[in-house]
C-alpha cells in the first residue's frame, strides 16, 4: 500500500474508532449474507451515469455530488466501519448500455448499491436488471412518477411534488387564469403537462390556451412565440430541456417577451441550465424546484462551500446535483439502521429514515421509497442564481396520483 494511502486509511480508521463505529462490531459474515463486495475494511458501490454523450451535460453534476458525499462519508469513518470504494461505469447516454453496465455492476462486481441514472429512459432500462438481480439504485432526478420499486430509492421529486404547489403559488400570486404549456417531446414533459393541465382545469378552474411539444434539440421557436403573443396567456408553463432551452429563452427575449410583461414558470431550469442560457436571458422568470444553490438554511452553506472547494469556484449546483448528494448519505443511514448491507434489509429499513443534514433541509423517506420534500419557487437573477421567494410545507410523495391520469 502506498504510504499516503496507508496514512489516509489509518487516519480514517482512527477517526472511525474515535466515533465509535468499528468494523469489528459488525463482522462481515453478519452484515453481508448475500455475497456482496464487502470486506472487513471496505464496501464497494457502483456509480452509473453518462460521462459521455448527450446526457453528460446534465449527469456530470450528479457524478460530482455523489463522489463528494462518498468522500465525506469515508472521512467520517465510512459505513459500518468500512471505507466506501467506488466502481464508476459510463452509461454513455445509451439506454441498452445502461442495462448492460447495471448487470455488470450487480453480477460481476457484486456492488452493495448503485448511485446512478438521470433520464427516465435510462432508469426504465435498468429497472428490470435491478429487480431481477436484487440490487439497490439511488435515483436522483425529478421525474414523471408512475413508478415505485423495492429496489429503487427516488431522491428527486415525483411530478406532483414539483407541479401542484408551483401552480398553486403562481395562481395565487399572479391571479393567473390562462396557461400556455410548452415542452420538449418525450415522456417527462408530456406526463408532467398532463398533470399540470388536470390541476389547472379541475382544481384552479383556469384554462389551458395552448399545449405544444417541440423535438429535443429544436432551435427555432419563432412560430411558437408568435402564437404566444396572439393568445396572451397569463402564464407560460415551460418544460423545455437540453440545448433547446438556450434558444427558447434567447428568442423569447429577442421577441420582447420579458419578465416585466410576461410571467413564466418552468420546472426544467436549474442552476446548471441557467449557466448555459445566461442569467440575463432568464431574469425575472420563475423555476419550481426543491433546491436552489442560494438556499439559506443551517446545512446548505457548508455543502456549497465543500462542493466549490472540490470542483472549483465557478461550479454551480442544481436541483438534481443536490438530490444526487443525498443518495450515499441515505444509503449509509439505511445500512446503519439495518445493521447490514443486505439489499432486502436496506429496502425494508429505508422508510422512515430522516436526514436532517440535507442541503435542502429536512428529508424523510416515505413507504413508497420517494422523499418527503418541500417545493420552492426561485426567481432568476442576472447572475444566474435564483432568489427563493416561496417555500411550501413538506409535501408527501404520491407517484400514482388519483385523478391526474
Amino acid at each position: 500500500m502506498p504510504r499516503r494511502r496507508f496514512l489516509a486509511a489509518s487516519a480514517a480508521l482512527l477517526l472511525a474508532a474515535s466515533l465509535g463505529v468499528q468494523a469489528e462490531d459488525y463482522p462481515t459474515a453478519k452484515v453481508n449474507t448475500t455475497g456482496l463486495a464487502v470486506t472487513d475494511t471496505t464496501v464497494t458501490v457502483g456509480q452509473l451515469h453518462s460521462a459521455t454523450g448527450t446526457m453528460a451535460i446534465s449527469e456530470t453534476g450528479s457524478i460530482e455530488a455523489e463522489q463528494l458525499a462518498i468522500d465525506q462519508i469515508n472521512a467520517a469513518g465510512g459505513v459500518l466501519g468500512r471505507q466506501i470504494k467506488v466502481i464508476k461505469e459510463d452509461g454513455a447516454s445509451d439506454w441498452p448500455t445502461f442495462a448492460e453496465k447495471a448487470k455488470k455492476l450487480l453480477v460481476n462486481d457484486k456492488v452493495a448499491s448503485v448511485f446512478g441514472c438521470w433520464t427516465s429512459a435510462s432508469r426504465k432500462a435498468v429497472l428490470p436488471v435491478f429487480e431481477k438481480e436484487n440490487g439497490m439504485l439511488y435515483y436522483p432526478t425529478f421525474y414523471e412518477g408512475l413508478e415505485q420499486s423495492k429496489n429503487v430509492i427516488y431522491t428527486g421529486q415525483e411530478a406532483t411534488q414539483q407541479i401542484l404547489a408551483g401552480l398553486d403559488w403562481i395562481c395565487k400570486e399572479k391571479h393567473a387564469k390562462t396557461f400556455y404549456l410548452i415542452g420538449s417531446d418525450y415522456i417527462w414533459p408530456r406526463t408532467s403537462n398532463k398533470i399540470a393541465r388536470k390541476h389547472i382545469e379541475n382544481v384552479l378552474k383556469g384554462t389551458v390556451v395552448g399545449e405544444e411539444y417541440y423535438a429535443l434539440g429544436q432551435t427555432q421557436f419563432g412560430s411558437l412565440i408568435n402564437k404566444i403573443k396572439l393568445k396572451k396567456p397569463d402564464v407560460i408553463y415551460a418544460i423545455v430541456v437540453g440545448g433547446s432551452n438556450v434558444s427558447f429563452y434567447k428568442q423569447l427575449k429577442a421577441a420582447g417577451i420579458t419578465s416585466d410583461k410576461q410571467t413564466l414558470l418552468t420546472i426544467s431550469v436549474t442552476e446548471d441550465e441557467a449557466l448555459g442560457i445566461g442569467g440575463e436571458n432568464l431574469k425575472g422568470f420563475y423555476s419550481a424546484m426543491k433546491y436552489f444553490q442560494s438556499l439559506q438554511n443551517a446545512n446548505n452553506p457548508d455543502f456549497v462551500k465543500a462542493f466549490k472547494a472540490k470542483y472549483g469556484e465557478k461550479s454551480v449546483i442544481g436541483d438534481v446535483t443536490q438530490a444526487a448528494y443525498l443518495g450515499p448519505w441515505l444509503w449509509k443511514m439505511a445500512c446503519e439502521k439495518a445493521g447490514s448491507f443486505d439489499v432486502d434489509k436496506i429496502a425494508a429499513a429505508s422508510p422512515g429514515i430522516e436526514f436532517t443534514k440535507a442541503p435542502e433541509g429536512y428529508v424523510k423517506i416515505h413507504d413508497n421509497h420517494h422523499l418527503w420534500s418541500k417545493l420552492r419557487i426561485g426567481q432568476w437573477q442576472a447572475d444566474g442564481q435564483a432568489k427563493v421567494l416561496y417555500e411550501s410545507d413538506l409535501i408527501e410523495p404520491n407517484p400514482f396520483p388519483k385523478g391526474y391520469q
Binding site: 456530470t60 434539440g217 427555432q220 412560430s223 396572439l230 438556450v246 429577442a254 421577441a255 448555459g276
Partner: protein, 309 residues
C-alpha cells in the same frame, strides 16, 4: 376561427412577425446547407462530419469571446465579426488537413467515405468534449446583437435573426459570384464535371479538390459561428444540424446552388406555417411528409443537375 377575436393591427403584426420567423428559419437552413452543397453537390462526397465543422466554428467564437473578455474587454462590441472570420479560417484549414490526410484517398470509394467521415465526426465530438467539457457553452455576445427592433408597437423583429439573414444572403451571393465569375470557380466546376479533361488542360485537380473541400468546411464554420446567436454549443451540436442540412441539399437537387436556396426557402416556409397552425412536433411531421411526397414525384430533387455525366 380564432382570427375574429383580434383587431386588424394585431393580425397584421402577427403576419409580419410570422413572415419574419419563416425567413429567419430560411436563412438558418440556407447557411447550414451552403457548405454541404459545395462538398456534396460539387464533389459528391457525403461528409457526415459537416455538422461537427459547424460546431467547430461555434467553439471558435466561444474561444474568441473568452479571450476578448479576459484580455481585451474594449474589443467586446466588435469581436463577433472578427470571430466569424477566424471561424472561417480555422474550419477551412482543418478541412484542408482532413482532405489531405483522409479524403483524397477515398474519392473513388463513396461508401467508405460515408464511414470515414462518420468516424471523423465521432472523433471531433470526443475532442470537443475533452477540450471544452460536456456542458454546453454560450459565448458572451455583444449587446447590440441581442435586442429587438420595433417598427410599431406590436411588432418585434429580433436583431440576431436579421444578422443571420444578412450573413446568409451575403455568403450565398459571394459563393455564387465566386463559382461563376472567378477563375478558381471555373476550375472547380471544370474539375467536378470532367476530371481527366481538366487535368489535361493543366488544372491541378488535386489542389482544386483540397480547396473546394476546405471552402465547404470554412462555410460550415461560419454557419456554426452565426448559430451561436440563436442557440448554445455542445460537443454534439453538430448532430442536431446534420439531418436538416442533408434534407435541404437533397431536396434541392444536389448539384445546384439555386436548388439549395429554393429548397431551404420551401422547407422553412412550410415548417414555420405548419408549426403556426398545428403544434411543434406535428408541424415537423407535416413538413417531412410534404418533402417525402415531392421526392417521390421528383427523385432528383427540385432542381436536378442538367449536366451529362
Amino acid at each position: 376561427m380564432i382570427i375574429l377575436a383580434y383587431s386588424a393591427s394585431e393580425i397584421w403584426s402577427i403576419l409580419v412577425m410570422q413572415g419574419f420567423a419563416g425567413l429567419s428559419l430560411f436563412s438558418v437552413l440556407l447557411l447550414m446547407a451552403l457548405g454541404l452543397a459545395i462538398i456534396f453537390g460539387q464533389m459528391g462526397v457525403v461528409n457526415l462530419a459537416h455538422g461537427e465543422f459547424m460546431a467547430l466554428g461555434a467553439y471558435i467564437v466561444y474561444l474568441c469571446s473568452e479571450v476578448v473578455q479576459n484580455h481585451m474587454p474594449s474589443l467586446a462590441p466588435y469581436y463577433f465579426v472578427i470571430a466569424i472570420v477566424v471561424a472561417f479560417l480555422v474550419a477551412g484549414i482543418v478541412g484542408a488537413g482532413v482532405e489531405w490526410g483522409m479524403m483524397r484517398f477515398l474519392y473513388r470509394r463513396p461508401l467508405d467515405t460515408l464511414l470515414a467521415t462518420w468516424g471523423l465526426s465521432l472523433i471531433m465530438q470526443q475532442t470537443f468534449r475533452s477540450i471544452f467539457g460536456a456542458r454546453e457553452v454560450t459565448p458572451t455576445l455583444p449587446e447590440w446583437l441581442m435586442g429587438s427592433f420595433k417598427p410599431t408597437q406590436n411588432i418585434d423583429i429580433p436583431i440576431n435573426g436579421v444578422f443571420v439573414m444578412a450573413l446568409s444572403l451575403l455568403l450565398t451571393g459571394g459563393i455564387t459570384l465566386f463559382m461563376f465569375k472567378s477563375r478558381t470557380g471555373l476550375h472547380i466546376r471544370a474539375t467536378m464535371q470532367n476530371r481527366a479533361m481538366s487535368g489535361a488542360v493543366g488544372i491541378n485537380t488535386g489542389l482544386v479538390d483540397r480547396f473546394t473541400f476546405a471552402l465547404g468546411c470554412g462555410i460550415a464554420g461560419v454557419a456554426g459561428a452565426a448559430f451561436t446567436t440563436i442557440g448554445s454549443t455542445g460537443p454534439d451540436s453538430g448532430q442536431r444540424y446534420i439531418v436538416d442540412t442533408f434534407l435541404v441539399v437533397v431536396f434541392g437537387g444536389s448539384a445546384s446552388l439555386l436548388g439549395t436556396v429554393a429548397s431551404a426557402f420551401g422547407i422553412a416556409q412550410g415548417q414555420s406555417i405548419s408549426e403556426f397552425f398545428l403544434e411543434g412536433t406535428m408541424g415537423k411531421v407535416a413538413t417531412l411528409m410534404g418533402i417525402v411526397a415531392i421526392l417521390m414525384l421528383r427523385p432528383q430533387g427540385l432542381f436536378p443537375s442538367k449536366v451529362r455525366v
